[in-house]
């Protein structure tokens, strides 16, 4: 349960080493819906330029955690920091560095791709000319430049997801959250999205927190956080989590840790 050295590093020093500031730090976070406890003393960090997989079954508390990080719910106990900005005390600075892809689709279906992007840019105070330039650039990167003026309604599920990722990157965040972004997509679209996001980590140094219940989306080089029934059961580099669980692969490790039945096909 101990964090690796770079993750556990940040100490309250007057001149913090920039590399030591986690992209995301979750510190003793608990959350209840009335009597039901959704999260219990959750703590972990996401390093800059790293891919951290948040692995948990449906109902593990992943979406609650995302709602807390994005300030949809208020924090009841604990702290959340984005590059050192406490989201309760300086939400503006924290949210500016954060891009999010929520699990439910959050695009305006009747507006065009460009219009959706421009609206998002406006919400971040990006002036129109700059926003238009960035939108065109991002649409080109996700291969949808020729669809810029079509309605979002006419896109496929995978294309919508790619658009949502482009939208989340429009304000150039340094931390990207994705809540089960591949749910409901076919194999090809899934692979495209995963490789695109991994590229963002290696090429642009974005810290990524990827919530999933699908084991095959995780790679050996990733950091792993196993969330089960509101508690963090294990965290750290994937290989270490597997070794510490006395398992050979992530499926078995997850099963040992949670006592859950793993479904055939690599999903929990």
């Amino acid at each position: 349960m101990t964090s690796p050295a770079p993750m556990a590093a940040p100490q309250p020093t007057p001149q913090p080493d920039p590399a030591a500031v986690p992209a995301l730090s979750i510190d003793g976070v608990s959350h209840s819906y009335g009597p039901r406890r959704a999260l219990m003393d959750v703590s972990f960090n996401v390093r800059p330029a790293s891919f951290t997989a948040l692995l948990g079954l449906n109902g593990a508390g992943k979406s609650t955690l995302f709602s807390l990080i994005t300030r949809l719910f208020g924090i009841q106990t604990g702290r959340i920091g984005i590059f050192g900005h406490d989201i309760s005390r300086s939400p503006g600075e924290a949210l500016r560095l954060l891009g999010v892809v929520f699990q439910p689709r959050t695009l305006d279906l009747d507006l065009s791709l460009t219009q959706n992007l421009l609206y998002h840019a406006a919400l971040h105070g990006i002036i129109r000319r700059e926003a238009a330039a960035r939108s065109a650039e991002l649409l080109a990167r996700i291969g949808l430049a020729d669809r810029a003026a079509s309605k979002v309604r006419d896109l496929s599920g995978g294309q919508m997801r790619r658009l949502e990722i482009a939208r989340a990157l429009l304000h150039r965040p340094r931390l990207l959250l994705l809540d089960e972004p591949t749910v409901g997509l076919d194999v090809k679209a899934r692979a495209d999205i995963i490789s695109h996001v991994r590229q963002l980590v290696t090429e642009q140094g974005i810290g990524v927190l990827w919530a999933t219940h699908l084991f095959d989306e995780i790679m050996a080089s990733d950091d792993l956080v196993v969330l089960h029934q509101g508690k963090v059961l294990a965290q750290g580099p994937m290989n270490r989590v597997i070794t510490e669980a006395g398992a050979q692969d992530v499926n078995t490790a997850f099963m040992r840790l949670t006592g859950a039945q793993v479904m055939p096909g690599g999903g929990a």
Binding site: T13, A38, L72, Q103, L111, G125
Partner: protein
């Protein structure tokens, strides 16, 4: 200060960022409105049915004496026009709140609320955007009504604008306040029964209050206490280039109260947090 250390100094937001955000939200709301032609048509048909059918039928039943701001005897149609303008805004305000509940269920609300700008400001922009849409509807109604002999002085079309903005904000923030308390879309029918109809009928929209007083003194007091009455009177006087100071004070006061309450209700540490996960599993 445990594990959280600050990397960048907070830089806050510039006036230009606020303006960009405001225009962006109004622009998006306008676009959405243009795409929903049925909404525009029904927003227009509703008051026109009242004007063409209800008013025509009631013209002979209700005699209207000369009351301010009118200087002559007027037709019943002329009397209810400001009430119908306020009704357009009432429905629009409640419909905006309906769309906020829908957005919250569908997740669209999240894109708004993860904007780094202060949440109170975002909600205020949303209210202004809803009000702007209601202005389009009201002026479209006024154009059609002009052909139905509802011809206020030309200057009235201009002087009514600030009144409409204020009443639009009041009814919009009331809708937003209600939307923060609605868990599900289905509960919206209750809003119709318990908010829209009582507010509309217990007001001066359809009959002058002195006539209500003759019939039932108690209802008269209810009407007087109804903020919608004051929205109607504010619009009525403004349409004839006059100011009803009492109504102005009530509408302005209610706008401030409703708006603060709505922003409070949407504060993440209070309102939404208590209602459990929105859209999706925990």
């Amino acid at each position: 200060m445990s594990s959280i250390t600050t990397r960048d100094a907070p830089r806050g937001f510039t006036a230009s960022e606020y303006m960009t955000c405001l225009t962006g939200i109004v622009w998006r709301e306008g676009l959405r409105f243009l795409h929903q032609r049925e909404r525009f048509v029904s927003a227009l048909v509703r008051p026109l049915v009242w004007l063409f059918i209800f008013a025509a039928g009631f013209r002979q039943v209700l005699g209207i004496s000369i009351i301010p701001p009118y200087e002559t005897y007027i037709l019943y149609e002329v009397f209810i026009a400001p009430g119908l303008m306020a009704m357009i805004q009432l429905f629009n305000g409640m419909q905006s709140s309906l769309s906020m509940v829908y957005d919250r269920e569908m997740g669209n609300m999240r894109t708004l609320l993860v904007s780094p700008l202060p949440r109170g400001f975002l909600l205020f922009c949303k209210l202004l955007a809803g009000t702007a849409v209601s202005l389009l509807q009201v002026y479209a109604f006024l154009i059609i009504a002009w052909f139905w002999d509802i011809t206020p002085p030309l200057i009235g079309y201009l002087t009514v604008l600030p009144a409409l903005i204020l009443s639009g904000l009041m009814l919009g923030s009331l809708g937003m306040l209600i939307s923060s308390g609605i868990k599900q879309l289905e509960n919206f029918a209750g809003v119709m029964n318990f908010v829209i109809f009582p507010m509309f009928f217990a007001s001066s929209a359809l009959y002058p209050l002195w006539r209500v007083q003759e019939g039932s003194p108690y209802l008269y007091y209810v009407c007087q206490a109804n903020p919608f009455t004051h929205a109607v009177e504010l619009i009525r006087f403004a349409l004839y280039g006059q100011i009803n100071w009492v109504s102005l004070a009530v509408v302005a006061g209610c706008t401030i109260v409703f708006m603060i309450a709505a922003i409070y209700a949407y504060d993440p540490s209070r309102g939404l947090a208590r209602r459990g996960p929105a859209g999706g599993e925990a």
